[in-house]
Amino acid sequence: MLRDNPRATASLAGLPVHSVLAPVPIVCFVGAFLTDIAYWRTAAMQWANFSAWLLTGGLVVSIFVVLAGLIDFFGDRRIRGLSSAWVHGLGNGLALILSIWNAFVHSRDAYTSVVPTGLILSGVVVLILLVTGSIGARLVFHHRVGVRLENGR
């Protein structure tokens, strides 16, 4: 008999909401770091505008990613039993707090909306996401969190 996998409690149409949506804020925050670098090098304001939109968009989608992640985390004790799930959640929580701070920094006008604080925060968030993102990938591909078996479980 096949062993049951840890369940993604927050599922829609058979898909785990957390895993499906998680790439959106990751791409937004990585993108914001890149557009921050572009602004820093060129002083062309439109790059900083892109950063501000990417941060805002990433944070809005993060609300759903966090909710789905918390539902999964508390919905199956086997997930709570994985120490990497704790690191993944806490690390991403830190990345989100830094990104909220970063969005406010980006609401300043012109150069100091990016350099130096905004640029540093964007870079630190990308570093955190590299770690927590790969842990997240391990949770799915190694610990099979939310992976359905062929018989429907």
């Binding site: 304001m45 805002t56 609401s107 300043r108 006008d109 012109a110």
Partner: protein, 434 residues
């Protein structure tokens, strides 16, 4: 407000509260040598606008020896005033054009700005009031309709010039006319949309009538819309009346308004709105004589050569040439109206100096401005501290009944004040005179 809005607001208040220096006494920033505190850049500026409540039976207050009456009310965003030689009073009803949303921040800013302004849709037209010997309005007509955010007005001979936000228009005017339907001629195009951040174009004419002067405000707080958007802005234009050709008379003036020639020395003066978001007491707004060819700092520096770290690339070559303005009015008071008093109706204490209309602050926790002040002049220069003349636009609960904008002196010597939140024009005279 919904729950999300409430929590966003709560977060904003918390962020605003946890950072930022306490505002200092505004009197330390009035006059020739204002105190300039260190720069403080917020995570979230303390956006604080007075809640708007109707005047009801309340009135502005004036010191002993003066009286104030409503010349007209029920207007649609009266912003600026001009008195024709026959005594007729022109009132420009205007609001700014709608700009694009370039950043998420602008959603919040637009919302805050809406709270601070009248809910009445502006007329975007000029009204004409005719008054009797007691200074009361006897007739009220639409003088020029269908304008595009009009602000500046000046008559030279039989040519009436109106500064829409994007062009200077010329209308033929005959003494006594109460309505102009003749199509206008464009004298000069001015920098307008699509952003048009500072849209009020103040206008005056040289003594001999050969030149017009137009105030063209910046297209941003501090170049956040890109330096390209600032082309020929933050400047006072000198426009040749015969040809419409223009040159930049003075630059680096973030948002110059109330252009007026000082009557004794025939020197051009303006009130200027300085930059935001460097703290509750930076940068002081000011009143200054405008020197031909001078650079007053914006955006690279403020109050002379104090560098603004938010502008890139910097221009040390320009900063080296920046001169400080003449007279600080304290921070964020938003001066939009200026008139030198040449009448005789008001008591002698108000002769020869300048009245300034302060629209009032939005980005400091303790409100500043929201009143009309008088600055005594001697030999064409400010001589003494500003004195409060018309107050009471804010009540004891810090709610705003009105906000003063444009000023003018009528042919009987009464001081006129456009109130774009109370939708009223006020008239101040000596207590014992009409």
């Amino acid at each position: 407000m919904n729950r999300v809005g409430a929590s966003v607001l709560a977060l904003a208040v918390a962020l605003a509260a946890c950072g930022g220096p306490k505002p200092i006494d505004p009197r330390r920033q009035m006059g020739a040598n204002p105190y300039l505190p260190p720069i403080h850049q917020y995570l979230m500026p303390p956006m604080h606008v007075a809640k708007i409540v109707p005047w009801g039976s309340a009135m502005p207050s004036v010191p002993a020896g003066l009286q104030v009456k409503a010349l007209a009310n029920g207007l649609k965003n009266p912003r600026s005033l001009y008195v024709l030689p026959n005594g007729d009073i022109l009132v420009a009803e205007a609001d700014g054009p709608k700009g694009p949303i370039n950043r998420p921040k602008e959603f919040v800013m637009n919302w805050v700005e809406k709270q601070a302004h009248s809910k009445t849709k502006a007329g975007n037209r000029i009204l004409l009031f005719r008054t009797d010997d007691a200074g009361a309005v006897t007739s009220r007509t639409v003088f020029i309709d269908h304008l595009h955010s009009p602000f500046g007005m000046v008559l030279v001979g039989n040519d009436l010039y109106v500064a829409d936000t994007d062009e200077v228009l010329r209308f033929p005017y005959q003494t006594g006319e109460t309505s102009i339907t003749t199509p206008s001629v464009t004298l000069t195009e001015l920098p307008g949309g699509p952003i048009d951040h500072h849209w009020t174009k103040s206008l005056t004419a040289s003594h001999d009538g050969s030149k017009l002067y137009a105030g063209v405000g910046s297209n941003s707080n501090i170049t956040e819309n890109g330096i390209q958007a600032e082309y020929q802005r933050a400047a006072i234009w000198e426009i040749d009346r015969a040809t419409g050709a223009h040159r930049l008379f003075a630059t680096g003036l973030r948002n110059p308004n109330g252009l007026q020639f000082e009557p004794q020395t025939n020197v051009l003066w303006a009130v200027v709105n300085e930059r935001d978001e460097l703290g509750p007491d930076l940068v002081p707004d000011y009143l200054t004589s405008v020197k031909d060819g001078a650079f007053y700092g914006w955006p690279y520096s403020y109050y002379g050569q104090h560098l603004d770290p938010r502008v890139r690339p910097q221009r040390p070559d320009l900063v080296k040439t920046a001169i400080p303005p003449d007279y600080a009015l304290s921070s964020h008071v938003a001066p939009l109206g200026l008139v030198f008093y040449t009448g005789t109706n008001l008591p002698a204490a108000y002769h020869g100096g300048a009245f300034v209309g302060e629209h009032g602050s939005w980005d400091r926790s303790i409100l500043n401005g929201y009143k009309v002040v008088y600055i005594p002049f001697s030999n064409g220069r400010p001589a003494g501290m500003p004195q409060d003349v018309v107050t009471g636009f804010l009540d004891s609960k810090n709610e705003a009944h009105g906000r003063p904008v444009g000023l003018a002196v009528d042919t009987r010597g009464g001081l006129l004040i456009a109130d774009d939140v109370g939708n009223t024009v006020w008239r101040v005279t000596a207590a014992d005179q009409p």
